[in-house]
């Protein structure tokens, strides 16, 4: 069989798992934010959780460079 001309880029399995877990946190935060009324104090708490998870995801490219 001919070699695949476009093999997918490999990502560190550790980073992949990290990203996966953070994606789940962000996803559930989105769901909760959609369901909790803006005026509810819990809304701001969940928004903070989401912000933190997103900040952690933003660090992943840098982490990836340092791991190489």
């Amino acid at each position: 069989m001919a070699a695949d001309p476009h093999p997918p880029t490999e990502e560190s399995p550790l980073l992949h798992q990290f990203k996966n877990h953070l994606a789940i946190v962000v996803g559930f935060c989105d769901l909760l934010l959609h369901e909790i009324a803006d005026a509810d104090p819990k809304h701001a708490d969940v928004a903070e959780m989401r912000k933190a998870a997103e900040a952690a995801m933003a660090l992943l490219p840098e982490l990836s460079r340092r791991l190489r």
Partner: protein, 322 residues
């Protein structure tokens, strides 16, 4: 159906989609996913790329290679946003990509859009199966031609494969075998089932089945390659055929093939008014039609060669059964 080896991802996608009213099933390995697709026939599959056994690209490739699952929309879920992974996914036949982390409005919109397309496709498939059923009702009305469509589909596809036609043409020949006489639904029993010879008027009426069939199939894009077979299988090279009196190469090749196998099957199976002829007599009749300038010699020779070498599919009660 959601396929992911991380439980949290399955729970998240399920929560997102169930809130939209979808019923969600899940699998956590590639092999489980293939089994579940065959069992549950989902409307869409959200497929993680990195799985413990088969990866998402391979599962996607297998689903798209199988006629039964080819139209199932596959959305690849990937934590990677790089172009190479997307190209790899497109080559595997993926319909769309969603990059993790999920953006809920995005996943909802994409799933909704792909499921809408799937519904249209399902409707088209249903429409096509209605036309095929219609064609089979002809056999139900006229028990003397029982199995004719099935035999023509097999003979025409075998001849097409023998002369090196491509996959799409072979599929058109196979469908054409079932649909070539679909226009006969528009003929009254008095003409269709008449045991004796037709009067001139009745014969003119009979000839319209090619036009009626063409019109019936014309509504469906999926049957566009079959239409020339339905319309042109009674054309003759010298222009004496119907409905258009086409000459030579103006007659579509697939229609010429169907014409040959149609004559062969009509001669070699019994009817209330005639006995089945042996294959050798049918060969002679076909060669006679070649010498009259009705059929291409190379096609008739190829058909006879194939049948005489017992390479043609066999059916009980027909000349190809011995």
């Amino acid at each position: 159906m959601v396929v992911d080896d991380v439980r949290g991802n399955i729970q998240l996608a399920t929560a997102l989609l169930e809130r939209e009213g979808y019923t969600v099933t899940a699998a956590s390995t590639g092999r489980d996913a293939l089994d579940a697709v065959a069992r549950d026939q989902p409307d869409l599959i959200l497929l993680d790329v990195m799985l413990p056994d088969l990866d998402g690209f391979e599962i996607c490739r297998r689903l798209k290679a199988d006629a039964a699952t080819r139209l199932l929309p596959v959305v690849l879920l990937t934590a990677r946003s790089d172009t190479a992974a997307r190209i790899h996914g497109i080559e595997a036949g993926a319909d769309d990509f969603i990059t993790k982390p999920f953006n809920p409005p995005e996943i909802r919109a994409r799933v909704r859009s792909l499921i809408r397309i799937k519904r249209y496709t399902d409707d088209l498939e249903t429409a096509e199966s209605v036309i095929v059923s219609l064609a089979l009702t002809i056999e139900a009305r006229d028990p003397s031609i029982d199995g004719h469509c099935q035999r023509l589909a097999a003979y025409a596809a075998a001849l097409g494969a023998h002369i090196g036609l491509g996959e799409e043409d072979l599929a058109a020949l196979e469908r054409g075998g079932y649909l070539h006489d679909v226009g006969k639904v528009g003929l009254p029993d008095a003409v269709l089932l008449k045991p004796g010879p037709l009067t001139r008027d009745e014969y003119e009426h009979m000839k319209t089945h090619t036009l009626i069939g063409d019109r019936l199939c014309g509504e469906l894009r999926s049957l566009r390659r079959v239409r020339p077979v339905v319309r042109g299988h009674h054309e003759r090279l010298d222009g004496s055929g119907y409905p258009d009196g086409l000459r030579g190469d103006a007659i579509p090749l697939l229609a010429q093939i169907m014409g040959i196998v149609d004559v062969f099957d009509a001669l070699t199976t019994s009817r209330p008014y005639k006995r089945a002829l042996p294959a050798e007599c049918a060969y002679e009749a076909l060669l006679d039609e070649v010498s009259r300038g009705w059929r291409r010699r190379d096609l008739v020779d190829a058909f006879i060669g194939l049948t005489a070498s017992n390479l043609m599919p066999r059916f009980p009660g027909s000349a190809c059964s011995s």
